[in-house]
Symmetry: C2
């Protein structure tokens, strides 16, 4: 999609059932359950407030929601140019996937087999496999080749209900290749229909030419890569906000001081921040995220209690990525209940990537989170919509169905929201609407 449009403030939940006698472009009606997710991001044990309307309907015009209410009420008051019967299914906001590495070259199926035989992720990485093998292929690719490889994955995300996703660079690990990845994300966002929020993850791993000199690479990221990315954005897309800057704060990658150096430099340059923290070891990345006002801290499997407490008091969103331990056949997951007790704003994401979690489906993330994180279906749905929107700073525009917000809407072929979670391994989404347009399935008349 194109850059952010000005946003009217969404109305509070109490005014959601607004009606008018105006016409509208599209009316979706007869939802057994319409989940509005109204009222903004959901902190701590508030998580799971669906804002459900039974026999619900939704009117849209010019890509925005103009009314939410009962089927009877909306059909009385809106002359719709097109009506869609949800046939007793569930209607909800499009999923937001706030942590993906969707643009890469090649695959690592062989490495998956090795891992099943016992090699660990960090061992494979230390042996020059892992990220390094993806980097070798990605560096050789043109922007067009990167886009060609990513498109089927983006399409799979969309058909599984993701209408907005974050997308990281991080398989280039040199300024030119990182800028090509960033440019690929920006152009794919421009193509649509899936909307992408770009993140510069130059500090995803230490590239082979800096082996043994992590600090040298950190200095290069700070002195060259970040300024170059800023210049690129300012010259090519002056109206667009800067992408996020992210760092992999982990043993074998970047330590706390190096992570701080990168994120503090990025902040000075005006970038909003994210961090990969505590996936395998608790190095203090989460507290750093809170201190620097990062928009999100992601992974959080081994986060120390004091860092969890700090996160719970902050506006930094906690992003759990359960597909990653699942993908790695590991058994330790983000302690979601502890994070909620601490008051954190919890979101879910796929972590879609070629090494540990090749999964495009937020529906599977929800099913897994119910089991591995012990979230209720309602909690997991809120974490995959309004809270996920907050994890990319777009809670005022997407993640809920409220008057004035972007009309990103799903219809499920299921009569109850709990079928998300209850059922697994398949796709329950029967219709995807993006910016008020039906984008899947593409009907003959559409």
């Amino acid at each position: 999609m194109t850059s952010a449009r000005p946003v009217r403030s969404p109305t509070p939940a109490s005014e959601v059932r607004r009606t008018s006698d105006a016409g509208c472009d599209l009316l979706i009606h007869s939802a057994a359950q319409l989940l509005t997710l109204a009222g903004g991001p959901q902190r701590g044990n508030e998580l799971g407030r669906l804002g459900m309307i039974e026999d619900g309907a939704l009117a849209m015009t010019d890509g925005r929601v103009i009314a939410v209410g009962s089927t009877g009420e909306l059909r009385r008051h809106h002359r719709a140019r097109r009506e869609i019967d949800a046939r007793g299914g569930v209607v909800l906001p499009g999923f937001v996937d706030p942590h993906t590495h969707v643009v890469w070259m090649g695959d690592r199926a062989a490495e998956f087999e090795l891992r099943l035989r016992g090699a660990s992720y960090m061992e494979i990485m230390a042996a020059g496999g892992g990220i390094a093998s993806t980097v070798r292929l990605t560096r050789l690719a043109s922007i067009e080749a990167l886009m060609l490889e990513a498109r089927p994955r983006l399409w799979r995300m969309l058909t599984h209900g993701t209408t907005t996703a974050e997308a990281k660079t991080g398989y280039g690990l040199e300024t030119g290749a990182e800028l090509r990845l960033l440019e690929a994300v920006l152009r794919l966002d421009g193509e649509g229909p899936l909307e992408l929020a770009p993140t510069l993850l130059g500090a995803h791993a230490v590239p082979p030419e800096f082996s043994g000199d992590t600090q040298g690479y950190v200095d290069l990221v700070c002195s060259q890569m970040l300024p170059a990315a800023r210049s690129h954005m300012q010259s090519s897309r002056p109206d667009r906000p800067l992408p996020f800057v992210d760092v992999f704060c982990e043993q074998g990658a970047f330590d706390l001081a190096q992570s701080r150096q990168i994120l503090a430099t990025a902040r000075r340059l005006g970038f909003p921040l994210k961090i990969h923290a505590d996936e395998f070891a608790g190095l203090g990345g989460t507290a750093l995220a809170v201190e620097l006002g990062a928009v999100s801290a992601d992974h959080l499997v081994h986060t120390p209690p004091t860092d969890i407490a700090a996160l719970g008091r902050s506006t930094t969103v906690a992003v759990a990525l359960p597909c990653t331990p699942f993908g790695l056949a590991e058994h330790e997951f983000t302690p979601a209940q502890t994070l909620l007790e601490a008051g954190a704003i919890l979101a879910l994401a796929t972590d879609l990537n070629p090494g540990t979690a090749w999964c495009e489906s937020m529906q599977f993330v929800i099913a897994l989170a119910c089991r591995a994180l012990r979230l209720s279906p309602a909690q997991a749905i809120a974490a995959a919509t309004i809270n996920a929107a907050a994890a990319i700073g777009r809670q005022d525009r997407i993640g809920s169905l409220e008057v004035g917000k972007q009309a990103d809407v799903l219809v499920l072929d299921a009569p109850d929201f709990r079928h998300l979670g209850y059922r697994f391994g398949t796709n329950l989404v029967s219709l995807v609407v993006k910016n008020g347009q039906v984008v899947h399935p593409v009907w003959p008349e559409g």
Copy 2:
């Protein structure tokens, strides 16, 4: 599908690359990897023999495989009425799902939420939930209503690559309702394109009217239900083999002596046998299955070592159902490695059912088995095709791509077989052929 047709013996693997100058109905070519799974069921650590042909092709006529070999060879020697380019994808036999409860009424989404809060499966069942709640609705349903509910699930199975599935009764628990379920399975099989192998599971649970009198229900199954099912088959479908008879041998269901009574009676009446054994407790059901020559023993999470040893020396197929512990958010899975060490013929199935595992996708079973059972992708694929065919006694007709066998074929949108397992939560199947006909997607010209 209609009843079993006479089968020519498949040729041994060494003769698979047969060529002829004959025409053929359909030729699929340019598979980066064509997996034949030739050579029959794979016992113990033999599991994982894919019979791979690179740049492979497959010729089919009258619903049968007539040649398997390289693309160059087959295109030279076969004038095909229709050719399909697999475009560098993987071609393999259709999945066989040898354990499903696909025909039921209603859903149990609310119970899923309860379970997440800590109620166990056996506790929910003891409280009159679980199977009993499905039974209440299923007893009220006509054969047509049962078929209507099952069709979308069967279609989802097919589009995820399952071309043959076993389908159990067991939500009737009285003779009339069980026969309606059996008839629904038989008619759905007749409709196709998914082929169904029926199983009578009258002894799935003790019905409420026999609460406290399990033995009374067992006697009814033996004296009334089994003979009635036999008569129904003989009068309505005299040329068709009898369905399997299955029993849930478990604490809270049927004990070992009761399971023996039912299965021994069924055997005397000429039914082939299956058993649900050792899902929650090891009661001796697996040894019973071996003793009575059952075609399969299923679940096997808590099977005692002596029973595993007996199974490993038998022709009874061991069916692992990893979606069930996953669905229940439990952590104990079938000890697949121990079963393989013992020499067992290991198969995989979904256990598709409304209580513990609503999952239609054998691809997800494979992905889960790689992680939870530590199978390699090749092992999991063999367990989901040729060994799964053996688990329903159809290894001579389906489960591999060999000359003379039924042309049930998948094309994957993936360049390497290990993408099954490596990737999860989505559908990699781009084409499904059943009996030599393209059944998904249904193309305009098809």
